[in-house]
Amino acid sequence: MSDRKTLQIKQISGHSGPAAGFDMQRDYEVCKLIDTTICIGCKACEVACVEWNDMPFTPTTFDNTYQTMPSTSYHFWNLIKFNEHQREDGTVQWLMRKDQCMHCADPGCLRACPADGAIVQYTNGIVDFQQENCIGCEFCVSGCPYDIPKFNPATKKVYKCTLCSDRVGQGLEPACIKACPTGCLKFGSKDDMKFIAEERAKQLRENFGFEKAGVYDPQSIGGTHVVYVLHDAENPERYGGLPKNPVIPWSYTVWKWLFKPVLGTFALFGLLGVLLHYVTVGPRRAQPEPPIKERES
């Protein structure tokens, strides 16, 4: 396996032909592992993300929580969500989950995006927004099961975590991974991360009494390139609304890849129809018309 993690394109949103560069080079899928059971909510990843991506500081307000802001924003792509969960025995579990783009294998944003090349998926699994092609239609926002793409009203384009494709393309780990002090964030190949995650979940089940511990890698969207280890994989919703079975609205798939071109063609038939009418039947005229001199038969 090549060590190079160059960014070979796999899919391009709204693109009419084959993706340039697809299947040109052997590559492996990358993955970010987030072990929520050892996340301490220190927000180093938040700061690293803001700093690496050179995003501006934004004023926030106190909201009865340790969470920096209610959700990720167009210039805050990485947010730890804090949730207090009261167990049946009355004790409280404080859950912290780093929220960011999940880099789905089947990305809802890319499915929904009509703009040519505004969203690309690389063969290594990174789903990246190319803002120069973005038209700001925000369909990706509704396509995403995780509420990740965020519209910037100033630039009128949509932004999200890039999994630091700029760093990964150079063989570096994403900035959040680099900043994580406890190692609850790991980065590597999907196979390796999945293996580590499953091992950790097994350890949690066998040695730490978390019987429902498991790995979050939802197959409903073909898996994600960000996987979580959860104390309770049966209730991911507790971790700040992580959907158990994320889905992409069927309308995008059916509409965009089937009916859109077909019906578009039908609309063009209207043009074709009137054209044919003109040349075959001919225009209607106010009566009485001049007398007919000759008729083709």
């Binding site: 703009a115 009128k156 038939f269 003109y278 209607r284 005229r285």
Partner: protein, 246 residues
């Protein structure tokens, strides 16, 4: 209610009549008043603005050459709902203006049954009971009216987005919005064709507001009869006689 609409329409028609004017020459009939023509072209303008910006969103890879006209993709996207809103508002006024002549009648149903003959060119003259608007025109009118309602609802959902309405509402609206646009697009080809090269003498109705009497008795015989009090077929035959006499 209807009287209130009538009063509003009458008032605005009067006001526009004072701003602009319509000259009807000998041998012509007044078809569309200034107000009607103004509304029509505003609807048309916003329709095309919304259409072209919409193309840029619908299939950017095909229509991306449209978007620079509007300042690029994001600006097209930003302006599209405003254009759409203009279209809906002007069409709404037109609908009020036209609510009476566009009312569906038994003659329209008959007209629709007879459609094939008209398309095929076998019937040179419209059926004698064809009024100010024929069944096809009314059908398109109501298609646009219902399309506007779909636009308005789905457009608002798309405009304010998943944050307000939820991602499923957006995902469904996206499809309905597009379907509505495609139906309207198909219709608009026919509309343009018939009002220009497909039916000579029609275009001036929306330009000058006046049509020839011949046009009137040919395409809207019942209306001709209503405004002139003469029998359209008779008038046509008389004209034919006069022409052959020359």
């Amino acid at each position: 209610m209807s009287t209130a609409i009538d009063r509003f329409d009458d008032k605005t028609r009067g006001a526009f009549g004072q701003i602009g004017q319509t000259e009807v020459y000998e041998g012509e009939l007044l078809r569309h008043r200034v107000y009607t023509r103004f509304l029509h072209w505003m609807v048309a303008l916003f329709f095309f603005l919304a259409l072209f910006t919409g193309f840029g969103i619908y299939m950017p890879w095909l229509f991306r050459w449209f978007t620079p006209i509007f300042g690029g993709g994001p600006l097209s996207r930003e302006m599209h709902p405003w254009f759409g809103l203009g279209f809906v508002i002007f069409f709404g006024l037109q609908a009020l203006n036209w609510i009476k002549p566009m009312t569906w009648t038994a003659a329209d149903t008959k007209w629709m049954v007879n459609l094939r003959k008209i398309i095929g060119g076998q019937e040179k003259m419209e059926p004698p009971d064809t009024g100010f608007f024929n069944g096809g025109q009314k059908m398109q009118f109501w298609e646009i009216a219902s399309g506007c309602i779909v636009y308005l609802i789905t457009g608002m959902i798309l405009w304010f987005g998943a944050r307000v309405f939820g991602r499923w509402a957006v995902a469904v609206s996206y499809v309905l919005h597009d379907i509505s646009a495609l139906i309207m697009l198909g219709g608009i080809f026919i509309h343009i064709y018939l009002s220009t090269i497909g039916q000579s003498g029609t275009f001036q109705a929306m330009i000058r507001g006046a049509v020839s009497e011949a046009w009137a008795w040919t395409f809207h015989p019942a209306w001709y009869k209503q405004v002139t009090g003469r029998d359209p077929v008779g008038a046509c035959e008389e004209a034919r006689r006069k022409a052959s006499a020359k």
